[in-house]
């Protein structure tokens, strides 16, 4: 059975963290046959997220020795991004039909979701705020951007995803005026 690289990406309540789990099956090819396992987190502008923060390489060293549980928590995520996440493995004995690299578009929406949650609380505490068109429209716009980012990521459109998240960030930055 050929080897197929696979992983999941998740964010919890702490928006500064990103959890990536290698879910590849190593039954067909043992971990010892791999010389490295790397992650690339490409932003929409082509640059990469560095981890640890002082790293000088574009890739994140997701080595089997350092991460025996196959899970890495990347910290220092400062805002929502439309990311292209690439996991790359290098086999010393490549098997025909195997896939050693996987790339997906991931929309990080934690900061936007947190802001939306805060606005929902404001509305719940004081529904009269909805009479203010600025409040309602800002909330609706923020939700639209979040939904657009998620949908764009689903369709693999990193630029659209990231653009929606940047527009969401602009709304959040004006929270004092809007909410």
């Amino acid at each position: 059975m050929p080897f197929v690289a696979n992983y999941t990406v998740a964010q919890g309540l702490d928006c500064s963290q990103l959890i990536i789990t290698d879910t590849s099956s190593y039954a067909s090819e043992a971990k010892v046959t791999f010389t490295y396992r790397r992650l690339y987190l490409y932003k929409a502008d082509g640059t990469t997220i560095k981890f640890p923060s002082g790293s000088t390489t574009d890739y994140i060293n997701f080595s089997f020795a350092s991460y025996p549980t196959d899970q890495i928590t990347i910290t220092g995520i400062d805002q929502d991004y439309g990311l292209r996440v690439v996991m790359e493995l290098n086999s010393s004995a490549p098997q025909p039909g195997s896939i050693y690299s996987k790339s997906t578009i991931v929309g990080l929406t934690c900061y936007t979701n947190t802001a939306l949650y805060g606005v929902a609380q404001v509305a719940a505490v004081n529904p009269a705020r909805l009479q203010d068109p600025v409040f309602y429209e800002s909330w609706s716009d923020l939700q639209t951007e979040r939904d657009a980012a998620v949908m764009a990521a689903t369709y693999g459109d990193q630029l659209a995803c990231d653009a929606a998240l940047k527009r969401a960030k602009n709304i959040i930055n004006q929270s004092a005026l809007r909410f």
Partner: protein, 182 residues
């Protein structure tokens, strides 16, 4: 404090209520313009926040505030929504597929058949999206709910392992397929 099970019910009821509300709005608009879209939109937004916060914030006072506000918003449709969500009659015909695993947040996918770049070419009858695997679906074609097989007329079967929906007839260019997954 509201329990996690109650919140799950609230989210399900709110999901159904959004559709009941949209349908009701369309009917009212036909006779007299009654703009209730804000209420439906607000319910959608509150529900999305509830869905996002459920894994982390259930049991907090702030979360209960949002959940109770959602209940206020979908109260108008609660009887009908409860019947649909719990019995499988109404919008969802047959026994809804119970997800075998917690697959993540609910969402909606909208696809125009035969459009440039569309995943559904004209005159074909299948759509596959792994996001749909292990989910409960509401399938809507051109604003009409399509029932699962063996319903009469156009129906569909769903492979909840691969996330493939297979319609009983080919879809035509320009048709809009909307899938709500829960």
């Amino acid at each position: 404090m509201l329990s996690n099970a109650t919140i799950t019910d609230y989210i399900k009821l709110a999901d159904v209520s959004v559709f009941l509300g949209m349908d009701e709005f369309q009917k009212k608009r036909y006779y007299k313009w009654v703009d209730e879209t804000e209420k439906i939109r607000i319910l959608y937004m509150v529900n999305e926040s509830m869905r996002w916060g459920q894994p982390y914030l259930v049991g907090t006072q702030g979360f209960d505030l949002i959940a109770n506000y959602a209940y206020t918003l979908f109260g108008q449709w609660i009887l009908e929504a409860t019947q649909i969500a719990n019995t499988g009659f109404g919008l969802v015909v047959g026994t809804p597929v119970i997800p075998s695993a917690v697959a993540g947040a609910a969402g909606m996918i909208s696809v125009t058949v035969g459009a440039v770049g569309s995943p559904i070419p004209a005159n074909t009858n299948q759509y596959t999206n792994v996001t749909l695997a292990s989910r409960t679906l509401i399938v809507i074609l051109d604003n009409l709910v399509v029932q699962p097989s063996p319903a009469p007329g156009l129906n569909y079967t769903f492979n909840n392992v691969t996330g493939t929906i297979t319609f009983s007839a080919n879809l035509s260019a320009g048709q809009t397929l909307t899938i709500i997954y829960i």
